[in-house]
């Protein structure tokens, strides 16, 4: 037997074995290798923890041989198990090689015994479970049930805030427009510039810039403030362009502009 090769197989084939469900053959009602081993271990009529794994391995290998003679097609996991058991057998028979890595034959055998014992325990307890009184067989639920009728009641609610907002919405509906900065009291510098440019040609004399405020902006304080500021800024702009001259006689005195004489 080639020990190393079998080790490899065992490890790599675990997942293969698990995936090979469709290939399981039903040999004498056995579902799989562990199943077969469990049955065989029972024939030893001993505590599963004390079974001779060696004897078990021999029985299993004999079983596989017999199945082959009978030309029964065996699923891969049967053969993997056979190979693994043969490997285990060799491990148990030969004295341990101290140089060799990995678990000892005893450890592997103990684990196999544990697996068998666990499977047996699950079988026993499955039987115990199924032997319990079962609903619909031994005990019964209510025959005439009364379904709970579910009624859904919808209540509506609103807060005072909702109410007031709704009212405010209605009362201001006509005035409604998408929100923008309130600019109706703002006279922009661009507006001031376009107002001043055509007028400046006539400003031969020093004139108070306030006289250039647009019509209707002189009285309302907010508008007046804005128009004054923008007109002043516009006059600065024009002075920079060299179109006008600018003067202020005193602090807070009127600012005056006139067309640049040589311009």
């Amino acid at each position: 037997m080639n020990d190393a090769e079998f080790t490899e197989d065992t490890v790599t084939n675990v997942s293969d074995r698990l995936a090979a469900e469709a290939l399981i053959v039903d040999v004498d009602g056995f579902e799989g290798p562990l199943d077969v081993l469990l049955t065989m271990s029972r024939t030893q009529k001993v505590d599963l923890r004390q079974i001779s794994v060696l004897a078990l391995a021999e029985q299993y290998l004999a079983f596989i041989e017999k199945a082959r003679d009978l030309r029964i097609e065996l699923a891969a996991d049967y053969l993997v198990m056979a190979a693994w058991l043969a490997f285990l057998k060799s491990r148990l028979l030969l004295p341990p090689d101290p140089a060799e890595e990995g678990p000892s034959g005893e450890e592997l055998a103990a684990h196999l015994a544990f697996q068998l014992e666990r499977l047996q325990a699950m079988r026993d307890h499955a039987a115990k479970l199924m032997a319990r009184d079962q609903l619909g067989r031994d005990f019964f639920a209510r025959g005439i049930t009364e379904d709970v009728t579910r009624t859904r009641r919808v209540t509506y609610t609103a807060t005072l805030l909702d109410l007031m907002q709704a009212y405010a919405r209605i009362r201001t509906k006509d005035e409604f427009r998408p929100y923008t900065m309130d600019r109706d009291a703002i006279f922009t510098m661009e507006e001031a510039l376009s107002r001043l440019r055509p007028l400046i040609g006539f400003a031969g004399e020093w004139t108070d810039i306030l006289s250039y405020l647009p019509e209707g902006w002189e009285n309302d304080p907010a508008r007046r403030r804005s128009a004054t500021a923008s007109t002043f800024a516009a006059s600065l702009e024009l002075a920079k362009e060299g179109r006008i001259e600018l003067r202020q006689g005193d602090t807070f005195a009127p600012i005056q502009i006139r067309r640049k004489q040589d311009g």
Partner: protein
């Protein structure tokens, strides 16, 4: 059950008659279990057919019925059969009411707002203020919620009904009277009015006052 064990070993043909009927308390349990599990009411005859030979389900039923007197379920006769039924006074437990709270629709809240600020107000007036017609359903809903009710008829041609808000409305919104509703000025101060005065309509202050006057006027009309 106990009855089988005591009699085993007897001659097969006599076995039947030698079977003693179970004690009446046991029969009562049997009737109870059968009635509980059956999908339909069960007749005395059916019970007798299913219970051990010699049983007297009619008598067991009398005891069982007594036992359930005043309980949450009762033993009732349906035709000539018997069944367990929930006690009638507990029928309310068999329904589960889930209350779902939803916000009033925009149409409803606006209508309600108009009624509360302008009451008494006719439907035509509500429509005029809202600028859209008011559906019957909206009014009905508010009436059903008991937030509005019919007021006096307006003494104008056609004598239209008016709507006013109810005490329930005031309670819900925590108001002592509809006059406590904040005016436009307060609404604006509270940031609820984000509008600006229409261009050229003078100072904001005067406009607000106007709004309040409007309202007072409407209330005075009553």
């Amino acid at each position: 059950m106990a009855e089988a064990e005591t009699e085993t070993g007897q001659a097969p043909e006599t076995e039947e008659t030698l079977f003693e009927a179970p004690p009446i308390a046991e029969q009562e349990r049997m009737v109870e279990a059968i009635l509980f599990a059956s999908a339909e009411p069960v007749t005395i005859k059916e019970l007798a057919g299913r219970m051990p030979h010699g049983s007297d389900p009619a008598e067991a039923m009398v005891h069982l019925r007594e036992r359930y007197e005043g309980r949450g379920v009762r033993l009732v006769k349906v035709g000539d059969a018997w069944a367990f039924r929930t006690a009638p006074d507990l029928g309310f437990l068999m329904q589960k009411e889930t209350v779902e709270t939803r916000k009033l629709s925009r149409a409803a809240i606006e209508t309600l707002a108009i009624i509360s600020y302008h009451q008494p107000v006719t439907r035509a007036e509500i429509e005029e203020i809202r600028g859209v017609s008011v559906s019957r359903g909206t009014i009905d809903q508010l009436i059903e919620m008991e937030w509005i009710r019919f007021g006096r008829r307006r003494m104008t041609p056609g004598r239209p009904v008016t709507f006013v808000v109810t005490q329930e409305f005031l309670d819900h919104f925590g108001l002592e009277s509809a006059r406590d509703l904040p005016g436009l000025k307060e609404l604006r101060a509270a940031g609820l009015l984000d509008n600006r005065p229409p261009p050229g309509q003078g100072a904001p202050d005067s406009e607000e006052d106007e709004g309040e006057d409007d309202q007072t006027e409407l209330f005075d009309e009553e």
